[in-house]
Every structure is written in C-alpha cells, then in structure tokens.
C-alpha cells in the first residue's frame, strides 16, 4: 500500500517536473521513496520475480555500455528499461522503477539495466539479493576518479570484492579480462564469470604504461606485472614474473563494427555483447545488426550541430578517460579546434590535481586552436603551459558561454569543435548548445 502510494506520488512529481520543464532526469521521486521506505527497490522488485536484472558498475563507460546492451536486447524483441544516465545512485534506480511500473508496482518488462555508481554497488546488491530471477553483474573497469569523493581505488576494489561475496551463486559476473585487479576479483569469487577484452592484434597498441595507471602490480603476490601489450591505462596483456598470474581467456568479438571511436568503446561494446550472448543467448549476428547505427549517449562522443558546425563532446572526467578522449581526437585527425572545460563542483570532484596525470603533451603540437574554460580555467592554463603549449595561441575564457562563442568564430564551416569537459561542464555545454536545461 505504502509503495503504491510512493509510486503514484512519484509519478505525479515526474509529470509535474516534465510539464514545468525541470528536465526529465529528476531523481526526486526515487529519493522520496527511498527515504520513506529504505527497501522500496527491493519490495517492488520482489513483486516482479520474472524480471531479469543487469547491474553495470565501473569508472568509465557505464552509460554507453547500458545503452548498447539495451539496443541489442530490444533488437531481439525484448522489453527493456534502464535508469537514466548519471542517475546511478539508489534514488536514480528507484526513480526509474517509479516511472516504468504501474501503480501496483508491476513492471511489464523482461529486463532492467541499472548502472550503479562505483561506491554504491554493495547497496544496490543488497536491494537485489532477494530477487529470484537472473542477475548479471558487470564490472567494467576501475580507475582513480574524484579521490576526494570516491576514495582510493583499492578501497573501491575491496568493496566490490566484498559485494560479490554476497551474491547468490546463480549470479553471472562479467568483467574486463585485461584488468589485472578486476579479473583477479572475478576469478576468486567462485561465481560464474565471463571476461571481455579487445583484439590486441587489430588496434595500435603500445607496450608502455602511462601515468594514469592504478593496478600494475600482481594482485596475488604484489610483484610488478610484465605487460606485453597495453591498450590503455593498466589494461592489457600481462603476466606476473613471480607467480605466473595472467589474463583469463577473453572474448573480443572481432566481427563487430565499431560505431564509436576509441579503444575504451571497444571494451564497452564487447562488454555489452558478452552479456547479451551469455546471459540472454543472443547471436553475434543480431548484436552486429543492433549496433550498426548506434547513437551515443549524451555527452559521450555526441555530435551537436551549432551555428552550422559540428561540436563533438567527449566527456573527460578522470585521467584514464581524459587520455582516451585525447587519443580519440588524435585518431579522428579532423580539422578543427579544441575546448577543454575544467570544473571542480561536487559531481566533478573538488580536487583538480588529476589533470597532471593526463598527457596533454601529446597534443601540444595540434594544428587547431585551443580554448580553455571552467571554474578552474587557470589550473588548466598552467597544465598546458607546463605541457609545452604555446599559450599565445590559447584563449582563456572563464565563462563557458564566451569560450564556446569564441571557439565557434574560429571554427570554419566543415570543421569540428572538440569539447573535452568534466561532468558538470558537459551538462553546461549541452545547455548552451541545445538551449535545454538537462537532457
């Protein structure tokens, strides 16, 4: 009864916020529901014993992977819903349930995909543990990110390891077989585990580790791992010279096309494909068809037309992600200019130290002009100054709107403006470009 009331009330809040144009991403109804009944999610899911659930955790790529998996599942005729991008705390999950259920709490769907914040995996699992239907848990990757908010990656890894112990033994675990720590955690967990990777033969891959790495020592005996291949950050083909710990066998789906640029998106895509294949028995052919015309999630390699120019937004919120964005810009090798926007608000993390672990040096010789903006624009300016940029050619605009307008003026027809923003800056950029408040 209480839950029905919470659903009704939540639906009214959602309706009102949409009508009044507060944007559709409101987590308010879920927040109220969880405050009133801390087990709201668990209670509603209990009433839907047929609903299969996929939980996706990771530092980078949660939203893209969720969206890809949803497309694949829908392509094979399944009814799927997911929580909205970025609304990945329990209140976001609860909100999506309120939105998609009827008043009795019935969810007329086959599958729910929930992306969860790396620090909330344990909480989410607690809510799902009594659920009787199939549960799949995807651990995409783990990189240091907003250390002032999330804490150190070892702490997060320990939490994940703990969370896996609480899962029922029919749970399927999917993780990155190129990540030493995560593949180790999955192998130790005794759950049925599957590993995705990327085809190391086909892509340009170095064997040198950068400065954005977190797990390069053997998780078993703490000896420095030898990397034969590095795809990015600490992901690659490794072996421990002391105890022999190495990658598990990985699935790489060489037949799939790649609608998005960057090695990180191949990992995301292969994660989605592996879940579709192993948990839902979907053929590679269907997966291939489903992703041919894949459109990225907002702010993740999203192209927005503005004043007749293409603006390509590449969300860049931590060292590993930022380096991948820079790599993507270099790979595309398109004519255009670049805008870095660095904020230090709560969703970005208050500490901006991490920009010094990003290799700006590799694009110091970029042909286009560089524009910088955001709350911490001068920290970014210093990073570029010491990264070998000639700041005479760099425009500094504290206001994002000014930066975008100035950059547009310098961007010719047919050229692209690449925007690499932190999370809150990305939302702001989209608002300026689309005129809409949130999504």
């Amino acid at each position: 009864m209480l839950n029905s009331f919470l659903i009704l009330f939540g639906k009214l809040v959602l309706f009102a916020s949409r009508t009044l144009n507060f944007g559709s991403g409101s987590t308010w109804p879920g927040h109220i529901a969880m405050e009133t009944n801390a087990n709201f999610v668990r209670d509603v899911l209990k009433k839907n014993p047929e609903l299969k659930i996929v939980l996706i955790a990771g530092t980078n790529g949660k939203t893209t992977t969720s969206l890809m998996l949803m497309k694949i599942l829908e392509q094979s005729g399944l009814k799927v819903f997911r929580n909205e991008a970025g609304a990945n705390l329990l209140n976001g999950i609860a909100s999506s349930i309120i939105k998609k259920s009827n008043l009795t709490g019935r969810l007329n769907f086959d599958i729910a995909i929930f992306e969860v914040d790396e620090n909330n995996l344990g909480e989410a699992i607690k809510q799902l543990i009594v659920h009787s239907s199939q549960l799949s848990v995807v651990l995409l990757n783990l990189f240091r990110d907003q250390l002032d908010r999330y804490g150190e990656v070892n702490t997060v890894a320990a939490k994940w390891e703990d969370a896996l112990k609480k899962l029922k033994d029919n749970t399927l675990v999917f993780t990155n077989g190129d990540d030493p720590k995560l593949s180790y955690i999955a192998q130790k967990s005794e759950l049925e585990a599957y590993y995705f990777g990327i085809d190391h033969k086909s892509s340009v891959i170095s064997n040198k580790l950068g400065y954005d790495v977190d797990f390069t020592y053997c998780p078993q005996c703490q000896t420095k791992l030898k990397y034969e291949k590095v795809s990015y950050s600490h992901l690659g083909k490794f072996v421990c010279p002391k105890c022999g710990f190495t990658n598990p066998e990985t699935e790489t789906f060489p037949s799939l096309l790649h609608p998005l640029i960057g090695k990180y998106n191949i990992y995301n895509q292969n994660a989605a494909a592996l879940v579709a294949q192993k948990a839902f028995d979907i053929s590679e052919k269907v997966i291939r068809t489903a992703l041919v015309d894949f459109k990225p999630a907002f702010g993740r390699q999203e192209v927005i037309k503005y004043k007749g120019r293409d603006v390509l937004i590449l969300l860049s919120k931590n060292p590993a992600g930022f380096n991948q964005s820079i790599d993507a810009v270099r790979t595309l090798d398109k004519k255009g200019n670049i805008l870095f926007a660095l904020n230090d608000r709560i969703p970005d993390g208050r500490d901006v130290s991490w920009i010094w672990d990003v290799d700006f040096e590799v694009i110091a010789e970029l042909r286009g002009k560089v524009f910088i903006s955001g709350d911490r624009v001068y920290d970014m300016a210093l990073r570029l100054k010491y990264g070998g940029f000639d700041l005479v050619y760099t425009q500094i605009h504290a206001e994002l709107k000014d930066a975008i307008e100035a950059a547009m003026e310098e961007t010719e027809k047919g050229e692209t403006l690449f925007v690499l923003p932190t999370y809150s800056a990305m939302l702001e950029v989209r608002k300026i470009l689309t005129g809409k408040k949130i999504l």
Binding site: R144, D148, N154, T216, W356, D379, R383, Y386
Partner: protein, 257 residues
C-alpha cells in the same frame, strides 16, 4: 656562462603517484630548463639499483594508497632506505608529499592499530585514528615560515593519517585554511635540512612556484658548492620567470577560500 645540470631522482613513480604529484616533476624540470639548466629525471623503481639514488641532486616522492605503500616500505627496508636517509641528512634537497612525508617520519600507526616503522629522518610520527574518523580533505592555505617563500602556499589535502611534529617550530608553515598536519595544532609540513615534507597536493609546485625555485636553488647550491647560508639567505640566483598565470591560478583559488 657556466652550464649547470641537475639530476632529479623520482622515487617510485609507478607506486607513489596517485594524486597527480607527477606535476611536481614536470614543473621542476620545465622551470630549470627555461633557465638553461639541463635536467635529467631519473625514475627510481623497486627493481632499480640503489646507485640511481646516489647520483640524484634533488629527490621527489609522491603520495599513494596503502597497498602501494606497503610495497615501497618493503623496498626501503633495504639499501635504498639507508641511502635516502644519508642523502637527506647530508643536505640533498627533497620534496616528500603525503604518503612519502609520512614514510620519512618515525612511524605510522594504521587505522587498524598496526605500528609501521618509518625511516625516522623527520622528527614526527603519524597516526590514523581509525576508519570512522573523517579523512582530512579540502583546499588548504598555509602561511609559510621559511625565509625564501613570501607568498602563502596553496594546495589540496586528502589524508587519513594525522602527523605530529616533535618540534612545532620545524613546521613548513601555519595553517590558515584547511587542516594541515593533524587538523589540531595548525602546523603544516616540515622543513628538515634541505628537505620539505607536506600534505599538499594540487600538485603543490605549479601554483607555488616560489617553492619550486627554492628546491632548484638549493639543489644547485649543493651541487656547485655555494652553500645556503641561513643568515644571508639563498645565494644562488635563478633568473626570474613570468609567473603571471601562476598568480592568476593562485588568486582564483584564494578568493574562494
């Protein structure tokens, strides 16, 4: 003009670099090179020979997480630890951030009450009051207590351990905003001979170029025999650089504190 050169020894870049501390190395290298000083950055790993430490004119070590610190701690029980102690004692300048700063103290008492011995160079000890105690996180402003640094030091701190100096007059500075060594006695960091220990990330040197230049100056004095004289201040003269961007970055953050 005499050609100067410096070797910067960067201790454990693959283990002690969680908080962007690599920026300090980049800044030291660039600010030296912009003045025509040749710089070699020598990365010192667990499997590097201890000799690499012997030939360094300036030492740097950053902060890290517990697991990584355990690996480093084991390595420093060996010859590298002894050489590091000797170098600091003999006046080789060094910058030791957060975890490294704690290492050079007498001991570190962990959250689960394990007492890990440090190198015992810095007269201080560190205690972690337990998992329940809040980490000390946020922007910091410190009034420096050393002669060659006039402007306040700014940075970002993020640490669970609380450090206590045996002699508070050895502090690098007094906390104006933030927590500092322990959140209680308003001290931040330590100055010991030519070495500096501090909790300031940010990283510290890009926005505190005076400290970067002080480290370079001391390293040049040590190497080229014009020793620092506490009565007269620093003798070695570095060409001034245009630090207007650094100033703007400083002002932007100071305004918000």
């Amino acid at each position: 003009m005499k050609k100067y050169s410096l070797t910067i020894g960067w201790l454990y870049p693959d283990l002690m670099n969680t908080y962007g501390d690599r920026g300090n190395i980049i800044v030291l290298q660039k600010r030296a090179e912009w003045r025509g000083i040749k710089v070699e950055v020598k990365q010192i790993f667990v499997d590097s020979s201890p000799y690499s430490l012997v030939t360094s004119d300036l030492l740097f070590m950053g902060g890290a997480q517990d697991t990584q610190q355990e690996i480093v701690n084991r390595d420093l029980q060996g010859p590298k630890g002894r050489i590091l102690i000797e170098k600091v004692e003999k006046g080789t300048p060094g910058l030791f951030i957060c975890g490294a700063y704690q290492f050079l103290g007498k001991y570190y008492r962990t959250a689960d009450n394990k007492k890990l011995p440090g190198l015992g160079v810095f007269p201080l000890y560190t205690e972690n009051p337990g998992e329940r105690a809040e980490r000390l996180i946020g922007n910091v402003l410190v009034e420096p207590k050393i002669k060659d640094i006039i402007q306040p030091l700014i940075g970002f701190e993020n640490h669970g351990g609380r450090s206590y100096l045996e002699d508070k007059s050895m502090a690098l500075g007094t906390v104006v905003r933030g927590f500092g060594n322990n959140g209680g006695d308003r001290t931040e960091g330590i100055v010991y001979k030519n070495s500096f220990g501090t909790y300031l990330h940010g990283p510290i040197l890009p926005k505190n170029p005076q400290l970067a230049d002080l480290l370079l100056t001391r390293a040049l004095e040590q190497k080229y025999g014009e020793p620092f004289d506490s009565a007269q201040g620093t003798k070695f003269h570095l060409e001034p650089l245009d630090d207007s961007l650094e100033q703007k970055a400083r002002e932007a953050i100071i305004k918000r504190l």
